[in-house]
């Protein structure tokens, strides 16, 4: 199977030849790849070098934590890549933004009202979790849409808090 893998705009062509070999660009290389203890921890011996890494599936991309660095990695097989190229590759920019609770906690206060215009970086809501007051901010300029929570309310992780048009 051939993949096109992208990190920070840089593309790597990687072909999984069999269990023990991959082709990176033109180079055929022996790999020894194992997951450890059934965890998302992976040991890779590549060209004699021993690497260990956490690999998680993020919202869209893969997250690779390697030697203290985190990499956002997009992995697409050839078919996906072609489809995306055909669609023009443009991801909608102006659509509605839904703020979800990044962790369970208590809504301490709401600093905006429905229909109010907000600026990028403006604090929308304060969520208390682990004894810390966490400020949740607007990712871009926009207009406040529906607000689904009240101050004093406990929320679950990923619960929808409010929308931004």
């Amino acid at each position: 199977m051939k993949y096109v893998t992208t990190i920070d705009g840089k593309e790597f062509e990687i072909e999984v030849v069999d269990d023990r070999h991959i082709r990176v660009g033109d180079r055929l290389v022996a790999v020894d790849f194992e997951s450890v203890s059934g965890q998302p921890v992976y040991s890779l011996i590549f060209d004699g070098k021993s690497y260990e890494s956490f690999v998680y599936q993020g919202e869209e991309d893969w997250e690779v934590l390697l030697r203290g660095r985190q990499f956002q990695v997009k992995v697409e097989d050839e078919r996906e890549k072609r489809l995306r190229a055909a669609a023009g590759g443009g991801v909608a920019e102006g659509g509605e933004f839904h703020l979800k609770a990044p962790m369970p906690g208590l809504v301490v206060s709401l600093l905006v009202e429905e229909g109010q215009p907000v600026k990028k970086g403006q604090v929308l809501l304060i969520l208390e979790s682990m004894k810390m007051q966490n400020e949740l901010k607007a990712p871009r300029d926009g207009m406040m849409g529906r607000i689904r929570v009240k101050a004093g309310e406990s929320v679950e992780q990923k619960q929808a808090l409010l929308s931004l048009h």
Partner: protein, 502 residues
Amino acid sequence: MFNKVLIANRGEIAVRIIRACRELGLETVAVFSEADRNALHVRYADEAYLLGPAPSRESYLRADKILDIAKKSGANAIHPGYGFLAEREDFAAKCADLGITFIGPKPSSIAAMGDKGKARATVIKANVPVVPGTEAVGNMTDDDLLNIAPSIGFPLLIKATAGGGGKGMREVKSLEEMPTLLQSARREAESSFGDGNVYLEKLVEGARHIEFQIMADSQGNVIHLGERECSIQRRHQKLLEEAPSPFLDDELREKMGSVAVKSAQAVDYVNAGTIEFLVDKDRNFYFLEMNTRLQVEHPITEMVTGVDIVAEQIRIARGRQLSYTQEQIHFKGHAIECRVNAEDPFNGFMPSTGRITHSILPTGPGVRVDTGVYPGFEITPYYDPMIAKLIVWGETRAQAILRMRRALEEYRIVGVRTNIPFHQTLMDSHRFMGGQFDTRFVEERFSMDGSTEIKNSNAEIAAILATLVAHKQTERSAQIVRRNERDTSNWKWVGRWERMHR
């Protein structure tokens, strides 16, 4: 003399105290919230009693229940650890009333130092230098504070009088933004300490945060165990501490040490305590506050002095004399502590909760880990995000940094995100290695991106890893689809039966 100690705390510090008690042959009583039934301190203690639901107010802050449990279990001493009830004068006083030894200072010392405003006034009388700020004591109103602020000058800090750990603290750049910040500081102080009082302090720029460990017995002996450098902070939360400070020489150490001892003496201090100082670029130092309790970062002092501070606390509480004179305290090598928090350093240090599914601790020469978590334990949002302290000792600061680097590389925690990558990036920072930092370093002159050169050299490997994991996943889901096809075939067959016989 007591023989059974109730530990009024949770997490790594409860485990630390249980260890000290056990090594002294004392029995231990743990208390726990519903979220902590399987916590390590419950598993390690001789006895364990439920306090109540997970929130601290309904469990670890319930002084009444804790004292009931002490009576019921026959515990004749209480160690409060840090946080929770550790700096509550009324709690220490109630212990005394009930004939239970509070392993800490006298209630009067807690009171004198616990209100940060009063503490400033007290040490000023003992000729200890303090940061310029509000000197009046008591419940100052917003109007009072707004009036005084210009005479102190901006930037300044709003600080909670009952405070600690940066909670209820706000930096103010101008009079205009001060009312809003006062409000939010009071709100946070109220929610953290049940006391919304605040005071003001000049912001010393380019300052280092350096603290001295002191120990005092009830015979009037007071010594210091040297300093800890605590300038590596983020939002006033300490992230890394080291001993000794790369900024101090012997002369300044001796001077500050004797001021620390004097500060403790000013409140008739007994047991372990910490005097926090700000040190400016020109080596002027100012008393900031005294923490009248065991400090999170006490292990680095233990590593460089060889003194077991918790065991010594217990001995002092039993009425014994200090085991050491000032002359017997020698400093050997260098120690560093990294606070391992359940926070995602790649996502604004957002707290991370969940079950720890796997963990490998770094071990070997010169490495110590103090932790209260283990594989299978659930990190809940109710408590502090600190899940472990990684402490190393080396003959020199350079060796300690190298050792910390390898220990961080070895540490595995799966199930929650941690700030280990932050510490790894810090260990690679030339400014940190050179000892060139102040309390603003992390927020203002530090980036998680690190050297792009190193990053680029690992990008190909990261790409390969992600590709192999994605490939594995695709293969696995293909297999599941095939298996499901087989599994449902019987149902298809039933469907066929139905149609055939309809």
